[in-house]
């Protein structure tokens, strides 16, 4: 799975204040997937959630902006924020 391009653009732009090239964004999306996706699905499973591809894309981009040292922490913060947003 690759994260949805429009959400990757948001994450990339938040970090770089530029759209970059398609190749830049694709690598950014791949790096975010490799770094966070497993932690996102684990945290969602613990919260009893099944996430859509769109939700995972949004949460992963939020994780790139989260504080913390480890990807598990960043992913956990993003999942918690998304759960609160959805009122779950």
């Amino acid at each position: 799975m690759a994260y949805e391009a429009k959400f990757v653009l948001l994450g990339f732009f938040s970090q770089n204040q530029t759209a970059g090239t398609l190749q830049d964004r694709e690598q950014f999306g791949d790096d975010a997937f490799n770094r966070f996706d497993q932690h996102i699905t684990d945290a969602a499973r613990q919260a009893g959630l099944v996430l859509s591809d769109e939700s995972r894309s949004i949460i992963a981009m939020m994780a790139t902006m989260a504080s913390g040292a480890s990807p598990k922490t960043k992913a956990g913060q993003a999942v918690r924020a998304y759960v609160e947003y959805r009122g779950m």
Binding site: F12, Q27, A32, N34, T64, S67, G68, K72
Partner: protein
């Protein structure tokens, strides 16, 4: 280009890292040439920053590198430090120092939550300046007082291992580093300002290698901050300006301990990154006052950032 990347960030207890740091209120042992005896209120400020120049990395994400990824960057650390004594007449500036140099930092992700860090400073300069009011008081009190000019170029290395347990509930950092001087003239000039360069009034320093060890533990985040305890210890030279040729110099392990609360790594929009209680004991670290051993300071520290 010019991006902040969190590779080998200074420990909270690192003395005079290139960052903005205020120590207030703060107290210190009497300085060697103080007029009024006893411990004193002596605040400090460091203004500095590690200015990022250029970086390369094996991934597009900012922040720490992921497992199997690496990042390398070039920085210019620049900092200015001042300590002021509020006990003697006119509240003299005791010492001001500045440093600048070049620095390469590297980070490798051994695991998702385990990182290797390396720092190498190929060249840096430190210049120290005893305050003019402090110097006047010292000259009045001691006819043999000499105003020395510690100013030196050095290179530095550091290696760091960082491990995070269970999603930042526990974060450990262990470090070793060292400073050594370029050239053979030591930490200070062998003549006083105004003297002929071949006066050789002072005996140059010889034990110019200063190894260091550091350790930091950060606990689980509580609300917006996490508790931490940090220690930095260095085998500092005790300056001996007037020792006889061939006489050995002494060194003293000098330790700074800091414990407080810090914003989690990567927090944006909160300038106050950390506040802590600090205790330092060892060689007086300020300019030519490094001739004083068993010096101490204690105070409340504040670290600011962007």
């Amino acid at each position: 280009m010019f991006r902040d990347l969190p590779y080998y960030e200074p420990l909270m207890a690192e003395p005079r890292a290139a960052r903005v740091e205020l120590t207030l209120p703060a107290f210190a042992k009497q300085f060697p040439h103080s007029d009024k005896p006893g411990n004193r209120f002596a605040w400090q400020i460091t203004l500095g920053r590690e200015l990022p120049i250029v970086g390369v990395r094996s991934e597009k994400l900012d922040g720490r590198v992921g497992k199997g990824k690496w990042g390398l960057g070039l920085w210019t650390p620049v900092s200015f430090h001042m300590i002021e004594d509020f006990k003697d007449e006119s509240a003299p500036i005791v010492d001001t120092d500045y440093r600048f140099g070049t620095m390469v930092k590297f980070q490798y992700g051994i695991k998702d939550d385990l990182w290797l860090g390396v720092k190498f400073v190929p060249w840096a300069h430190e210049s120290t300046h005893l305050g003019d009011e402090y110097t006047i008081i010292a000259q009045l009190r001691d006819a043999n007082f000499k105003r020395v000019n510690p100013s030196f170029e050095y290179h530095e290395y550091g290696i760091s291992i960082e491990k995070v347990f269970d999603g930042d509930r526990l974060h450990l950092i262990a470090r070793h580093g060292g400073i050594n001087l370029w050239g053979k003239d030591g930490y200070y000039s062998d003549h006083l300002l105004g003297e002929a360069k071949d006066a050789h009034t002072l005996t140059p320093s010889e034990k110019n290698y200063e190894p260091s060890f550091g350790f930091e533990v950060r606990g689980r985040q509580i609300r917006s901050r996490h508790p931490f305890a940090s220690v930095d210890t260095r085998h500092k030279l005790i300056y001996a300006f007037d020792r006889a040729p061939g006489e050995s110099e002494q060194q003293q392990w000098s330790m700074k301990f800091a414990a407080g609360l810090a914003a989690p790594e990567g927090t944006r929009g909160i300038p106050l990154k950390a506040f802590y209680l600090h205790y330092y004991r060892g060689v007086n670290p300020y300019g030519q006052l490094r001739a004083q051993k068993d010096f101490w300071t204690v105070g409340l520290g504040f670290i600011f950032g962007v």
